[in-house]
Amino acid sequence: MVDVAQEHRERIWKALLRVGRPDSRFHWDFSSFIADFEGNEAATARILELDVWRASDTVFITPDNSTERLRREALRAGKTVLVTTYGIRRGFMELNPADVPDSEITYAATLDGLDTYGRPRTLRDLQVGTPLHLLVTGGSAVSSNGVRFGKGHGYFDLEWAMLSEIGLTTAQSQVVDIVHDEQYVDEVLVGEPHDVPVDWIVTPHRTIRVDVHRQPGAVDWSLIPGSEHESIPPIVELAAMRSAS
């Protein structure tokens, strides 16, 4: 199964050299970031049509280049954007539309702009909020049954787990994966236990509803010690909350 995923990954990286857009630091190193792609505008527009988008005042959106346009649309629509810093290294940030002048929305939606307009948010800050209806992530690949095989760092799965721990996700929360058609794999893949399958796959040409039954997650603490996730601030914070209770 791992080999099948690896095979797809290599084909998809080749496709990304055609349809993907380079990053300001990582250029074409698609193992380091989730790329923006040709047709992103059409895919983003499909998300704007979802009922769950209209129903959300706050949306969690991953810090991928392919979700930059959606962060912009969220701010334009007056929605608050909850986002992580790249690699979650500096935890969560919040983009509040009230902080961002109209002319700065495009900038604020980029990762460089997030450092200017985002406000750092600890899990303690976040846990007083109402549960999220919608979480949107990018990915390097997704299967027909909604299993993402991303950069291999498992950031989104961890974000989902941490937000679940503080009650911000529920069984009703919906997860959208925005990808290029080349990143969609029409096969049923079996994920890992901590993988978060997605409810919607949105590409420039299709909106695919996946029938998943997902409960809020939990951080699998057996995977944390010695991993790259061990030192990220919200994990440190959660560990302290756990040992205090």
């Binding site: 300001s24 250029h27 980029t110 460089d112 450092d115």
Partner: protein, 326 residues
């Protein structure tokens, strides 16, 4: 102090590992203002209480890491850029504002710092800046403020993409809405507002001022970037194409704590800066002017040749000039 340098024979750590730790510390601590040559083997063998073989194992490891350089006839000496980067890391981490991708990993980028705005303002009042029409600014976070102001006062701005991977781009202030200048000055903004400059366009460009950030800079004008020789390669390309000449003004913006007193070797192909601008002072560099006449091809790695923009084409151009018709 010296007596603790002898290795601990009762320790579980092997002798060569202990020597490596001690030697690394000794090399990093070599004073800036003294010779970069490390003491001879007999002195070090006595100091650490080890055999020549054990010492050489440690020395060759540090040569492999790049911290030491061994040259026949000159002895073994510290690589100043390597030493400076390692020793300054703590200082730079302390003053650094994080980057959106690299966070506080200052081995990957030159960070912005509190007070850079004052330095930018001071630079914008200098003669070099006021006389300039086109400026070249390195993609360092600490000099972003200057890009934004240059866009505001009608200057042409050339900025290399990060690591020169996708060449140099031009920002046109007259085509960028005033509200977007700050955005345009970021690396993410370059993706949106920059237009790649091809090699032949660089050839017909005249740059009046180069501005760079730094990990550290010496009072006499030796600049140290975050990684090996990017600035030197950029200079070499511009110089070879005639976009800059021997006397083009080069100014470094940095934090006061990044200015060091350093005795160094100018024969390493580095490009000297004319002035250092910090939030509190403008320091005229008091050292000799060092302006290489082009790219030092011996210092360019095979990887750089294939991944950095312009280098391959430039080398073909130069080869064609050297062997016309050949």
């Amino acid at each position: 102090m010296i007596m603790f340098d002898r290795i601990d024979r009762s320790s579980a750590a092997p002798a060569h590992v202990q020597v490596l730790d001690r030697l690394r510390e000794l090399v990093l601590d070599l004073p800036w203002d003294q010779s970069p040559v490390i003491p001879g083997e007999p002195a070090l063998m006595e100091r650490f209480g080890v055999s020549r073989g054990t010492l050489r194992r440690a020395t060759s490891e540090l040569v492999r890491e790049g911290l030491l350089v061994a040259e026949r006839g000159r002895g073994t000496f510290v690589s100043r850029p390597h030493q400076v980067r390692l020793r300054m890391r703590e200082v730079v981490e302390h003053i650094a504002l994080p980057d959106s991708r690299w966070h506080t990993d200052v081995t990957r980028f030159v960070p912005d710092f509190k007070g850079s705005g004052e330095a930018v303002e001071a630079l914008a009042r200098s003669d070099e800046y006021l006389r300039s029409a086109t400026i070249f600014v390195t993609p360092d976070n600490s000099v972003r403020g200057l890009i934004a102001s240059a866009l505001g006062d009608g200057r042409g701005v050339l900025v290399p993409t990060y690591g020169l991977r996708r060449g140099i781009v031009r920002l046109d202030g007259s085509a960028i809405d005033p509200t977007q200048r700050e955005f345009a000055s970021t690396l993410d903004g370059l993706e949106r507002f920059g237009r790649k400059v091809e090699l032949d366009e660089l050839e017909s460009t005249r740059i009046d001022l180069i501005v760079t950030g730094a990990v550290a800079v010496s009072r006499d004008g030796r600049h140290f970037g975050s990684a090996d020789a990017y600035f030197e390669i950029e200079w070499g390309i511009l110089r070879a194409l005639g976009a800059v000449d021997h006397d083009t003004a080069v100014v470094c913006i940095c934090h006061d704590r990044q200015v060091v007193e350093l005795r160094h070797d100018w024969e390493d192909g580095s490009v000297s800066v004319d002035a250092i601008v910090t939030p509190t002072a403008v320091v005229r560099a008091d050292g000799p002017l060092h302006r290489p006449a082009g790219v030092n091809w011996d210092a360019v790695t095979t990887e750089q040749l294939t991944t950095l923009a312009y280098l391959n084409s430039l080398r073909s151009l130069e080869a064609a000039k050297e062997y016309p018709g050949g």
